[in-house]
């Protein structure tokens, strides 16, 4: 059933790994990120766009509709972070984070869900973070933008249920990607101590959750945020 994937933030990091994985399973993947695509595969198609650009996203989904007629799975993975004390945070950086993380997730969901309603099937997975339930100092804006995604996931799951679309979110612990490369090691270590299981997350941990959410048997699982590493909401 899951043949056509739309994944955001696929140039690098977790998004890129997700693409490579689903391509290896024989799926067709449409990816997007601001930069050029970094995957060469006949079943991969890249759009260079900003997920918060409504016009660009709408045009992309229109093209997908014309070419493939459906989107089975949407993974709203594109995201940015910035660590800072709130007293030192410029409004411009707040706007950037909310715009990519939350508004981007909203626009992608709205447009993809329109196409999904036509096929009466869809699986949407959003990216949350443990920074939200852990109320991590220094991550007020990032964690808040993801808290918005959690609430959005819950309400979207209700509004989209009648179209047979599920909406869930994964809340990863720190995973070694560029996103966290500037966070001091000591800070990272103390953060891992807040989890039930004190290790970094891996791409496989995230994939495991996503595969669960999109599995045929998960059609009764919606509106959930699954935190990794033993972190509770």
């Amino acid at each position: 059933m899951n043949n056509i994937f739309l994944i955001s933030g696929t140039r690098k990091g977790i998004g890129r790994e997700l693409c490579l994985h689903f391509l290896s399973k024989g799926a067709t993947v449409i990816g997007c990120s601001r930069g050029e695509g970094s995957i060469q595969n006949e079943n991969y198609c890249h759009y260079s766009l900003d997920v918060s650009d409504e016009t660009a996203v709408t045009a992309m989904v229109r093209e997908i509709a014309e070419k493939f007629g459906r989107i089975d799975v949407l993974i709203n993975n594109a995201g940015i972070a910035s660590m800072n004390h709130i007293l030192l945070t410029p409004v411009s950086s707040v706007k950037k984070i909310i715009s990519t993380n939350f508004i981007g997730t909203f626009i992608m969901t709205r447009e993809a869900a329109k196409l999904m309603t036509k096929n009466k099937y869809g699986r949407i997975v959003n990216m949350a973070t443990v920074a939200t339930p852990l109320r991590l100092m220094g991550e007020a804006i990032y964690a808040s933008s993801k808290a918005a995604i959690v609430n959005f996931t819950e309400i979207a799951s209700k509004e989209l249920a009648e179209f047979n679309i599920t909406v869930n979110a994964v809340g990863p612990t720190p995973v070694k990607t560029d996103l966290i490369k500037n966070v001091p090691k000591a800070k990272m270590e103390s953060l891992l101590q807040l989890q039930a299981i004190h290790r970094y997350g891996t791409f496989k941990d995230i994939l495991n959750c996503i595969e669960f959410f999109i599995a045929p048997g998960s059609d009764f699982i919606t509106g959930q945020t699954l935190y990794l590493g033993g972190v509770n909401p």
């Binding site: 409504e54 709408t58 045009a59 229109r62 509709a65 709205r110 329109k114 309603t117 036509k118």
Partner: protein
């Protein structure tokens, strides 16, 4: 253009709900709210289909989202007339860019 849009909307309405089959195509036909025949689910279907039809006819992507969508008085989705006017404004805004 108003006529073309009216016809486009009417065709979609008939497609979505049999209730519209017996009606003559007219600008005053109610869509959603007050006397409208669509429920919110059918309104969503109409919007999705109309966006597609607008693109097919005019080659322009419009998003039929509006703050007043669920307002009883000023929603663009009240009648065929208000919806055609609304789409016309959206199309004009795009061609002005």
């Amino acid at each position: 253009m108003k006529k073309q849009l009216g016809k486009m909307i009417f065709d979609q309405l008939v497609d979505i709900k049999d209730d519209y089959l017996d009606l003559k195509e007219e600008q005053t036909i109610p869509i959603y709210g007050m006397d409208g025949k669509l429920d919110s689910l059918e309104l969503v279907n109409l919007i999705v289909n109309l966006e597609e039809a607008v693109y097919a006819n005019f080659g322009i992507n419009v998003t039929l989202a509006d703050e007043k969508a669920f307002s009883q008085k000023s929603s663009p989705f009240l009648t065929v007339h208000s919806l055609s006017e609304y789409i016309k404004t959206l199309l004009a805004a795009v061609s002005d860019e």
